[in-house]
């Protein structure tokens, strides 16, 4: 009996996807034999725009690469610019950066846990977690003046200091959050709904994780113990102690537990930062123009390793800026988890759960432009020169004036 395969397109507009991406699944009956992804639907042109703004003006822009892990991107950016000057921020600012980064991690992981509850069909968990997330959002608002876009870090330090009132509020908030997160940690391993949808779903073996360069909780759920905070400490992470969490079941269940445990670790890190916060200034003033140099900085975002590259050319604007967001690195492992191989079978019903498993943030990731002609199945990439040549050939009238002008 011959087996017929079908192609199931999912996206760019689809109820199971929160963001526009296109997946094509080749299915044999119920099991997926091949998964393909086409990215580029949410390209925002941030890198190009950054080249036309000064280093200080770029901070709010970098923050908008990703809404949820905005702190990771701002810390990465400001750190990167400080590398250009070859200056380090004051110690207190570094502690404040760790503090806000871990608060952001708690917020991001709780948000993700709620989404997972929703995806596996356990909406009570979703409601519980998102209610508790309000505590952390209120704390962030009290510290930075905004719930999500924090604008806390700046070149040479941080912009706000922590007051004793906010500190005591934060300690109380952390106590409640710890109690609640412990409760989720007890609930997840015994809840039949979560176990049925997560155990032995989306297997990614350690070898595959290394080969396909998985990052963040996705990598740590496959027994590997890699974390930028411990491998290559930045800010005050060399002093703030924490355990690198890893689980050995390599499935979706491990990804849930890694994130729940990381939330607990982050709570402890916040407490340590509050206890051991050094005194002193929170910011050093740096000149507007950095020297000609290039730099790379890495930050462990809630979704994994975030990498930024900058090259300066002696003006107050960067000559080139490159962002590698964690979701891009996690796409290849995602496709691997979505492919049936050997005795391991993936069903169509697992797609939303597996997709949620990498904590996707597609619009952080869409950086490059690739031209696609779907009818011929042809794809290609143009250099800037080729693109200019094409534009000159096809555009009859010369472009003039400020296009976006007032």
């Amino acid at each position: 009996m011959s087996v017929t395969t079908f192609k199931v397109p999912v996206g760019p507009q689809h109820p199971a996807l929160k963001e526009p991406e296109n997946f094509t699944f080749t299915v044999e009956g119920e099991s997926i034999v091949k998964a393909e992804v086409r990215v580029g639907y949410a390209h925002k042109g941030i890198e190009k725009l950054m080249e036309s703004k000064t280093y200080l003006q770029n901070i709010p822009l970098v923050e908008r690469i990703c809404g949820i892990c905005n702190t990771a991107h701002t810390i990465c950016y400001t750190q990167n610019v400080e590398y250009l000057y070859d200056k380090a921020p004051p110690r207190r600012a570094e502690y404040l950066r760790v503090l806000i980064e871990e608060l952001n991690r708690i917020h991001s992981h709780l948000l993700w846990l709620g989404v997972v509850g929703h995806e596996v069909g356990f909406d009570t968990l979703f409601m519980y977690v998102w209610r508790d997330r309000e505590i952390i959002l209120d704390l962030i608002e009290a510290l930075t003046g905004n719930r999500v876009s924090m604008s806390f870090t700046t070149i040479g330090g941080t912009r706000r200091d922590i007051s004793p009132q906010i500190e005591s509020k934060m300690r109380k908030g952390m106590d409640i959050l710890e109690e609640r997160t412990e409760y989720y940690k007890r609930t997840v391993p015994v809840d039949p709904t979560i176990l049925a949808r997560s155990k032995e779903v989306g297997i990614l073996t350690p070898e595959e994780a290394v080969q396909l360069c998985a990052v963040g909780p996705m990598r740590r759920a496959s027994t590997l113990r890699d974390d930028v905070r411990s491998d290559d400490p930045y800010a005050a992470h060399d002093e703030v102690p924490f355990n690198v969490i890893s689980y050995d079941t390599c499935d979706f269940y491990a990804r849930i537990m890694v994130r729940v445990d990381e939330t607990l670790e982050a709570i402890n890190q916040v407490r340590y930062c509050l206890d051991h916060m050094p005194t002193g200034p929170i910011r050093i003033r740096l000149p507007n123009t950095p020297p000609i140099a290039e730099a790379v900085s890495k930050v462990e975002a809630p979704r994994g390793e975030d990498m930024h590259y900058v090259r300066s050319n002696g003006t107050d604007k960067p000559a080139r800026y490159k962002v590698r967001a964690p979701t891009l690195a996690n796409l290849a492992p995602l496709l691997q988890t979505m492919t049936s191989r050997g005795k391991y079978e993936v069903n169509v019903a697992d797609i939303p759960v597996l997709l949620a498993g990498i904590d996707p943030c597609m619009c952080c990731m869409d950086r490059s432009v690739r031209f696609v002609e779907p009818s011929k199945g042809k794809t290609w990439v143009w250099t800037m020169e080729q693109l200019k040549k094409y534009t000159r050939k096809s555009v009859r009238r010369p472009l003039s004036g400020n296009v976006a002008g007032r």
Binding site: T54, L56, Q57, I59, G145, S151
Partner: protein, 112 residues
């Protein structure tokens, strides 16, 4: 068991929402240090253009009036990043706690 406790706790708690635009305006939680609507004090301004230089979203335009150079703010473009307040040497700009910042006409959103 814990669900039942949760249920009873929520039953006695009362409602969590407020009838915001119509009633209970004072009950809206506004934290200290909220980055709200921009306020500008002409008498303190020296026209140094620092706010113009740091603004990421082209909210600030420098104009001339009888007393010399001064900024004009297009509030519909403001991202509330507070960088103008941070750099202002004379504290002529302040981000107030007022969070209602809407208008039906772009011309209403210009702060002179």
């Amino acid at each position: 068991m814990s669900l039942a406790a949760e249920l009873f706790r929520n039953l006695v708690k009362g409602r969590a929402t407020i009838l915001y635009p119509f009633k209970d305006r004072e009950k809206v939680h506004v934290p200290e240090g909220l980055r709200g609507k921009l306020a500008y004090y002409r008498e303190r301004c020296i026209g140094c253009s620092m706010c113009f230089r740091v603004c990421p979203s082209e909210t600030v335009e420098m104009i001339e009036d009888a007393r010399g150079k001064r900024p004009r703010f297009y509030l519909d473009r403001c991202t509330h990043c507070q960088q103008c307040e941070d750099v202002c040497p004379t504290k002529a700009i302040e981000l107030t706690k007022q969070f209602e910042n809407l208008g039906f006409n772009r011309k209403e959103m210009i702060l002179e």
